[in-house]
């Protein structure tokens, strides 16, 4: 039997989290070291999976399957293909950098890391799940710790409200999707939750058209789709830095990915019938999100709404149901995850110095935190879709796919690039350049070495993917082919 590497990746965080809970409360350094060790281990394994995945062979690899509840056909079934391999890596990276960024948390770090790691297990579990029941199981595990993480360690002003709003939104979405999943299970008559089997169930077009909106939107709530995006900026802003990174970087991909895996892949006919309005919703996300981001004065809200805008691009790529669009969305999920984690890390670092996030009150931080400034500019260039950065590799195919399906939507959507550029440049100019306000003089210091490691790692990934797209594109393409096969080779 081969080494169960995916299971080890999935369970490393939760086991580490439980062990951390057993440490005495006052041993804060040991808690942090243990967290870092576990995160490093998970990161190394996910890097290994990423590079060991055989692109030429394609399909699902590192598959493990154990029966869980045979009488209902529930199994523990994991495997990765070209679509989720990058997402596993993304989670590994964000978890690792999240631990580095959270080093300074001093209020009950033990509980913080334990909850963060339970969340990470849920995320890994959803990304590798090939069983519908298992997917829901881990999905809910990923949702709940957010509540505690935001409400306990979040920004005091809005944390209670934002945490409750976020949890209820996501829970509503997931239970609506759950009913759809149960309907699929019983209608298929196959008595299995195995998604590979359900792909072949041959649901009637009427069934697919009826249930697709429930399943897709149920998950897409977590992907931040308009008009259900409302929880997301509030949640981002209220969350502590590492949680914002996880939240925007990974959790939103969870929703998008599950919408693809369960909605599009299991109900392809439904997807074809409904995509015209989903692409419109996504268009609203992209353009409206960008406009709202550009009028925010709170640094973190800018990034929060930019996530809404960028996740709209992911949904838009899905909605084209074309090779280009899906490829772009696959890369965008990874690229945006890294980019937004980087943004939130920088916002956190600046806030720790300035204790304010009001953009007009900030300035001159390039001299205080040069590495963070560099990282933010890299993230900004990715965000604008500049060639040479991963954002270009992601957004260009999406626009190509949209152009082929609905040219006028592509024309409207590209407006967002201009607006994105405007608000990114404005933020860079206002926050990092110019004069450091007097009240900050002498009170500020550079980011910690650990922060710098995290920022440089994230920036490096964005540049590598941008300069050498071949490290990711063929892989995602193999996953896209898998999706298209289910769509009838469209």
């Amino acid at each position: 039997m081969q080494f169960p590497i995916l299971s080890v990746i999935v369970f490393t965080p939760i086991v580490a989290g439980l062990l951390i809970l057993l440490l005495p409360e006052e041993r804060k350094t040991e808690v942090r070291m243990a967290a870092l060790a576990a995160a490093t281990f998970a990161l190394l394994l996910s890097i290994w999976v990423y590079f060991a995945y055989d692109v030429a062979a394609g399909g699902y690899q590192f598959v493990e399957k154990y029966t869980w509840l045979p009488s209902l056909g529930i199994s523990y079934h994991v495997g990765v293909d070209g679509m989720n391999t990058p997402l596993v890596l993304l989670t590994g990276v964000v978890m690792f950098t999240g631990v580095l960024i959270s080093w300074g948390i001093d209020d009950r770090p033990r509980e913080f890391f334990a909850f963060l790691f339970i969340l990470a297990t849920g995320v890994f579990g959803v990304f590798v799940a090939l069983d519908l029941f298992m997917l829901f199981f881990f999905y809910e595990i990923a949702v709940f710790p957010m509540y505690l993480l935001i409400s306990i360690w979040g920004w005091k002003v809005t944390r209670e409200y934002a945490a409750m709003k976020l949890t209820l939104y996501l829970f509503i979405g997931s239970v609506v999707a759950l009913v759809g999943a149960l309907a699929m299970y019983f209608t298929s008559g196959m008595g299995t939750f195995d998604m590979l089997a359900l792909e072949q169930a041959g649901f009637s077009p009427e069934f697919q058209r009826f249930w697709f909106p429930f399943v897709f939107l149920g998950f897409a709530v977590l992907g931040g789709i308009f008009p259900f995006h409302n929880w997301s900026p509030d949640g981002h802003v209220a969350a502590p830095t590492a949680v914002s990174m996880f939240h925007a970087g990974v959790l939103m991909k969870l929703g998008a990915f599950a919408a693809l895996r369960v909605g599009v892949m299991l109900l392809p006919e439904g997807a074809k019938a409904h995509m015209w309005w989903i692409i419109l919703l996504a268009l609203v996300n992209v353009v409206y999100g960008a406009f709202i981001a550009s009028v925010q004065t709170d640094f973190k809200y800018v990034i929060g709404f930019s996530s809404v805008s960028h996740m709209g691009l992911v949904m838009m790529g899905f909605a084209t149901l074309s090779s280009n669009g899906l490829l772009g969305s696959g890369v965008q999920m990874f690229s945006h995850g890294i980019m937004t984690a980087l943004f939130f890390a920088v916002v956190g670092i600046v806030y720790d110095q300035a204790h304010t996030r009001e953009i007009p009150k900030l300035g001159g931080f390039s001299r205080v935190v040069p590495v963070a400034t560099f990282a933010f500019i890299v993230g900004g260039l990715v965000s604008m879709g500049m060639p040479g950065f991963s954002g270009f590799i992601a957004e260009f195919p999406i626009f190509m796919g949209v152009w082929r399906t609905y040219p006028w939507i592509a024309i409207v959507a590209v407006i967002s690039i201009v607006i994105t550029a405007s608000y990114i440049i404005r933020v860079v100019g206002k926050v990092f350049f110019g004069q450091l306000p007097d009240e900050f003089q002498g009170h500020t210091h550079d980011a910690t070495p650990l922060d710098k490691v995290a920022l440089l790692l994230l920036s490096a990934i964005l540049i590598i993917v941008g300069v050498f797209p071949s490290v990711m594109v063929p892989l995602v393409q193999s996953g896209v082919d898998n999706v298209l096969r289910l769509m009838g080779g469209a």
């Binding site: 509840l69 009488s71 829901f136 881990f138 209820l168 829970f171 239970v175 149960l182 309907a183 299970y185």
Partner: protein, 491 residues
Amino acid sequence: VFTGTFDPSILLAIFPEISIVVLGGLILILDLILADKYKESLGWVTAGGLSLILLASLAVARPELEPRLIWGGMVRQDWLGFIFKMVFLFGAAVTALFSTGYERLEKRGEFYLLMLASTVGMSFMASAADLIMLFLAIETTSIPLYVLAGFIIRDDKSTEAGFKYLLFGAMTSSVMLYGFSLLYGFAGTTNIYELATRIMSGDLPVVALSASLLLVLVGFGFKISAVPMHFWAPDVYEGAPTPVAGFLSTASKAAGFAVLVRVLLVAFPAITEQWGAIAAAISVATMTLGNLLALTQSNIKRMLAYSSIAHAGYALIGVVAVSTGVVSVTELGVTSVVFYLIAYVITNLAAFGVVAAFGRVTGSDEIAAYAGLSRRAPGLSLVMLVAFLSLAGMPPLGGFVAKVFVFAAAVDAGLVWLAVVGVLNSIVGLYYYMTVLKVVYLYRSEEEHVPVPLKGSYALALGILAVGILLVGTFFAPWFDWATTAAAAMF
């Protein structure tokens, strides 16, 4: 009644009940001879004895797969009854542990004796196959519980709880008894299993049958605290000693469900459609009302009372699925109800255990008093987190799979709308459970440096329960197969 030879194996069929009675006798004797200062250990004796009975029953008294009617048709030996008996034994053992550290109980010997008597009644409820036996069992369960609810005689609230419970209980039982007598009048037999065939063969008017069913449901609805027979629950839970409230909301409620499932499924196949509709209506009303009223509570025991009303509503979803009449669906329905109750009993015992542990130290049951608990008692808070999240239906805890199974049963039965009502309700549930957790984990208080010491009996019981919640929620296959066996025994 006894015709033919006496088969000693029928003694084995009621082994748990016999052993509980013996244990009760032992407690009575120990209560007489032990000096007062040792009497606290009676709880350990009770808990230990019940655990032994549980293990011994699992070892020697397991029923055959083929069910049989014994003791002159009074009792049916099958897996459904057996599994519920094990649940009651577990619930009683845990309650005994919680009571050990509960200083406000005086006269401990009597307390445990009454609890055991009630457990015997529940065991017979789960296996009764005759209306007379059923009524006796229900009364044997209820009367000791009336006393237990009012056991703190110096406390007005407790005596009020006991009295209220008695009045409601007496009223509903008499209505139920009236229903029983009508059934006997129509069918000419008191045996539940014969009742079905008589009803099927005779041409009884549907209205008459439905009317007697409604009367019977009043009694059952009281036991499971379903709307509109739920009024007693919040007041009684609030006033009763917390371990007793836990016992009422778990074992006693599960016993009610055991009876409900058996009687509806076996005795009323002629009017399946009618009782399906009635059960659906009750289920929706119970879930919705329970959850909505729980939202506004400031006392944690009252909140848990409303939450336990809501949970009866969820379990009823599975009962409704039973009414479709297709065997595979019915089986999934019964399975989901049994599984739901297993998960719910473990979870709710943990929830009440935490409340008892907190209440006995601080003397308060107000939710606001829980502020800063995560700093005062991290372990206790963690158990509370686990229990409340399981109640809310979050994985990897028992409540999640249990909910998925009842919703699955509903979807399987073609009742998608009922599953949707269920999921919407669970969102409301999540809100108020989280509100409590917010107080525990987020709010600070002036007393947050005062620890909340945990007695050994509480630590043991809560530890077992927390692990149990996790086990039911992750390794659910054995539990589910158990529940399936129980369901299969119904046919």
